[in-house]
Symmetry: C2
Subunit: 268 residues, 2 copies
Amino acid sequence: MEKEFSRWKKQCLKKLDLSKKGSVDEDISHLVSLINSRERFFTTSSCSGRIILIDRVSGISDIQKQNCHWLFVSHQKCKPDDLISALERSNGDAVFKFEPFVLHVQCRQLDDAQMMHSVAINAGFRNSGLTVGKLGKIMMAVRSTHVLEVPLSHNGKVLVEQEYIHFLTELANQKMEENLRRIQRFYDNLQSALLTQNFPKPQIKDPPISEDLQVSPHDLEAENGQRNNPTLVYQRRRKQGKKTLDNSCYGDSSSSIPELEDCLHLFT
Amino acid sequence: MEKEFSRWKKQCLKKLDLSKKGSVDEDISHLVSLINSRERFFTTSSCSGRIILIDRVSGISDIQKQNCHWLFVSHQKCKPDDLISALERSNGDAVFKFEPFVLHVQCRQLDDAQMMHSVAINAGFRNSGLTVGKLGKIMMAVRSTHVLEVPLSHNGKVLVEQEYIHFLTELANQKMEENLRRIQRFYDNLQSALLTQNFPKPQIKDPPISEDLQVSPHDLEAENGQRNNPTLVYQRRRKQGKKTLDNSCYGDSSSSIPELEDCLHLFT
């Protein structure tokens, strides 16, 4: 298996060399290099994060991705005018999206993936998770819930004012900045984990069952992005107090309503 | 470990019984029951999906979840007027969200989690993934990318027309319907897997490395939701042809541009 892993990695990095020219997003090249410099890991795909505007044929369900085309893509912050002019080219249903950092890392052993997963969660990428394939390939996907998805036109008709596009651009740019901060945190934490531990025990503690049941899974997975302390795991931050609206799902202890801050912070 | 699992499950289900009244969302009670009827699994939290409107204090970064409150929550389809009247109560930055089905399932062994993961991916929940805790607790999280996140007000001032709210409501309701179809697909596939196999080999095939490198991870994880065939795994559907805009990230083979349908369909 170890031999197999080395072979996969070689095969992958060889392929990388062929396609390197401009293909790793600038903002994550240091992170991709760090991971690929370690024998137990290699990256198979990544995107630093992007702001996009896609146009779908009207009347076609959004789950049918055929007949869509891209009006605008940026991996950096963007300007309202770029979006406004791209939106003018819409003749279907245009949707604006902020898509955060995504990274897939193949790991030699489950331990390695657990460590990498822990680092990702602690950096704020709370939708990260492992996949264990049939033949034992272990993949760790870094994912975030830090998104925007905003419909902007219907049948080619723009649905919002230019002022709204300005506001949206500002918001997406703020998300891009926060996304970069998380990437840097991921890089720093990974570097520490790789340097100081050879290899670390996985940091993800098992959930205390009695507490699992107290919150909505949406809140449970909601990102705060402010935490950086790997020793605080499954920290419970419920504040009993004012309840406003019944948003409870199973996993809530009762019909009581957790507010947004009222979360069980997974792995943080 | 097996004994430990049974103890955890008992502890969890006991807790469930205490909080059952209305706490499992109606649309997934059959699924939660099916999972909890099997000795190798139990659910720790779930939400069938919801349409929400939250109000954040203006000027506070969206990553700081303090000082937010809920203006509207529905686990069913909703009406534009419900949202319009809720939005009138905003005095900060209101954000409209569609949040899809989320489920956390604790699994006895890694094999079990792999099977459950495979069923989730095949049902269209492409951001699903495993967590393996320090003490060996294995959790499978069912997650989807099928979201909406739309800012609607700033400093209490509504930024969009009522017509837009009508369009948004329709879109969210369509997403709710598709979400329910996926839940049903998940239920059906899980039932088949549990009935016919005791237990199945995990269906998730390992990725062929040479193909991993061909697409953006965002497209790779994009949901089509149309697939239902567990034998088609990592099916490659690239169509070489018209290229429109450079959205390539590392993982793309070159600077060539995959269109939206031009995806490597993970696990499908």
